[in-house]
Symmetry: C3
Subunit: 334 residues, 3 copies
Amino acid sequence: MKRFLDLAHFERDEVLSLLELARRLENHPEPHALTGKILGLVFFNPSLRTLASFQAGMARLGGTSFVITPGQGTWQLETRLGVKMDGAAAEHVREGIPVLASYCDALGIRAFADGRDLQADLAETNFNAMAELVDKPLINLESAMNHPCQALADWKTMDDLGVPRHGKFVLSWVYHPRALPLAVPAATVHMAAMRGMQVTVLRPEGFELPPQVMEKARRAAALAGGTVHETSDRDEALEGAHIVYAKEWGATVCYGDAEADAELRRGLTHWCVRNDWFTRTAADCRLMHCLPVRRNTAVADEVLDGPRSVVLREAHNRLIVQMAVLYRMLRGVQ
Amino acid sequence: MKRFLDLAHFERDEVLSLLELARRLENHPEPHALTGKILGLVFFNPSLRTLASFQAGMARLGGTSFVITPGQGTWQLETRLGVKMDGAAAEHVREGIPVLASYCDALGIRAFADGRDLQADLAETNFNAMAELVDKPLINLESAMNHPCQALADWKTMDDLGVPRHGKFVLSWVYHPRALPLAVPAATVHMAAMRGMQVTVLRPEGFELPPQVMEKARRAAALAGGTVHETSDRDEALEGAHIVYAKEWGATVCYGDAEADAELRRGLTHWCVRNDWFTRTAADCRLMHCLPVRRNTAVADEVLDGPRSVVLREAHNRLIVQMAVLYRMLRGVQ
Amino acid sequence: MKRFLDLAHFERDEVLSLLELARRLENHPEPHALTGKILGLVFFNPSLRTLASFQAGMARLGGTSFVITPGQGTWQLETRLGVKMDGAAAEHVREGIPVLASYCDALGIRAFADGRDLQADLAETNFNAMAELVDKPLINLESAMNHPCQALADWKTMDDLGVPRHGKFVLSWVYHPRALPLAVPAATVHMAAMRGMQVTVLRPEGFELPPQVMEKARRAAALAGGTVHETSDRDEALEGAHIVYAKEWGATVCYGDAEADAELRRGLTHWCVRNDWFTRTAADCRLMHCLPVRRNTAVADEVLDGPRSVVLREAHNRLIVQMAVLYRMLRGVQ
């Protein structure tokens, strides 16, 4: 495995095999598997789980990491092509990224969406421009439209909990003071579809996921025996749900227009998951969220501190599945 | 040992045993003792010694560390309970701390005093709220009212130097441009008392240590054969002293009131330790300070660069005693 | 080897021996050579290559690193002697540096020029004040007037490419929006002279390298059978060149005067290396640059993306030669 950029690049069987490897490493540690191997981690955006769990994961396998945070103790990196660099950025990714890749055995890059041009973000223009400069194994630590490590961890979490393969999975928009990227919702709807679930995307008008995202998820669902559906009717969506996956994202009808987005979300503060969201769901319905989550804004204390929440398990599974990704990248199939 | 939060949580014999282990590891390195073990370090406040020495200490024992600095390459973390999170903090410690704990074998947290409500700081409200979320071995890297790693290093430093068990220990307030926390003075007075010393707290009026701090130290002194005394008379305090431990802290009569504090300290710039402070002390009296120290403001160059200063040895002992703490936490009694 | 601060501290044979060791470690990894060893890295200024390559190099040899960035998650450090510290800096290097040295087996320090007083910068006042506080092996990660790790990597790069020992080496000033330090040009002209090359420094009037720098290079050239020459005539300089080494630096006729410097460089934006700079050079002439480089300001895309550019190889060689430096420092001659 040379690249881990998108679950959609893998067959369903390959994902299942990765999850099996993750479970093996969880139960039977291999503290010398990656001795001498080095992971480079480049963060253009903040991180907590990714930053900590990748360093911990490499260490648990005997390897080492270094962290680069452009603009913070490091030069700002320019990403645009062909520009005359007379501004704040002292270095271009065309030098910076291959240089870092040359120091390590695998590289991870986090680069969020620009949030201005939806088509450019859907095309992963920025991330792909960097990815093509890297000749080492490469991991997507969250790009404009993807977060495959989170998706894989969430898949494992549902397996751990015995959530039925064809169970009902509701990805619900929740309130946040400002527009957030589409990476996690896009990765999540695809993951649940690829797992074979009955997926419902629940969101207010104006917050529809882009057609390309929905189409991709539908193709995955078709192969796995699942379905993908979209609605703004909360009662309909939550009826019989096994999973409520809460996530904040920006309005897509006015992508990149912060004022119009703020106008749209003004009346939507009641999109905060509370216990009464679970009256029509399956009895053992779980609350998932990729974190960070704003308490009492996106999800209420009563849910996060209650028995339905599995957010800590999701976060812990980041460590486990990423160890599997690193292991397969740096040791191959064993 | 599951927690290292306060020397007062340990019997005197247990502290002596930790110091013995520290000496053993100093003289007989065990470079594979903690192979495969991971230490997570969370810094809500700046650090130099703690940041470097914990990473170095884990490495010297064969282990690994990762560092998280909330708000710097990482989300800001909310600490208050029950709030609606619509401000700058993207994540709550109720998620962030257990997640980080789940990635490592031991966790260290630095969280200074809020500096507004003395009773809340004395109760360690903030630190304890995080501590109760952690089910892994936990180390206090300096909290509102404690700094047990510094205290243990200082104890060892006095042992190294042959300072008499019942020698005279003067904790002296020194000038600083603004109010600093009470963590080190509180930990220091307790440590010296627990070691069995004749402790004098020397400070201007208005800078008395809180009664709870003095009471705790007196209880420790009673068990160890020492005494605890407080004065604003410098001559009386320094008479026959074996140790002058200089430390800056905020006025306690107006805790949290920066203006009143500034007014109180305005005339106190002569509280800067100079050579003439040592005319009445024991001939071999030493100057201690936990660092960082402002030269010629808190302690003069002539003292810091002279033979009385043992501040570098104190700092080096941070490395040594912390290795003992990590060793006992992660390997047990061996 | 206790210190790696300046190539000029070594005989030519010693440098050749270091390069031989670098080549050996490149071809025959020794993943356990530095097991248990710890490198401390202190960055008073930003870094990308140095930060990543030293951590990666220690890890490739089995060792560990910690990174300290004063003022960022760490106290600001005062460097001036004898001052009353009542400003932003909470700690003096006279404490901070020896403390950090006491935690590790070797220390690296990056401290750029102050850029105000040329004679003080030429004397390395700041760096030397710290260096004399360190009793451990010490590496210069770039000081006011030196960057020996870059120089050694560049030497190896020319060896890798078969550039003739006595080939023509042109260090050319190139445009940058503001004055940059003299560290790399000073280290580079000396390195090329010490390698035995015919060195030409090409720069506009007002940007002459200081006489002390030129004299030092001439002494090295005399010993190695090379020459050192200076000109502002681009055609003359580039004629027959084997290497064009592009570098930005500040005007020396008005060192420390940002306005006068800006005035001088206003008309010099055509000092951007383009393909037409290579019409008179040797056919296989290479473009070198230490990075970071501003594209289309200092060097055009057409050169950086073309076959003459060896900037990525230079950067990769940082890793390799630094491993040799660390190996020799921490294991001696083996």
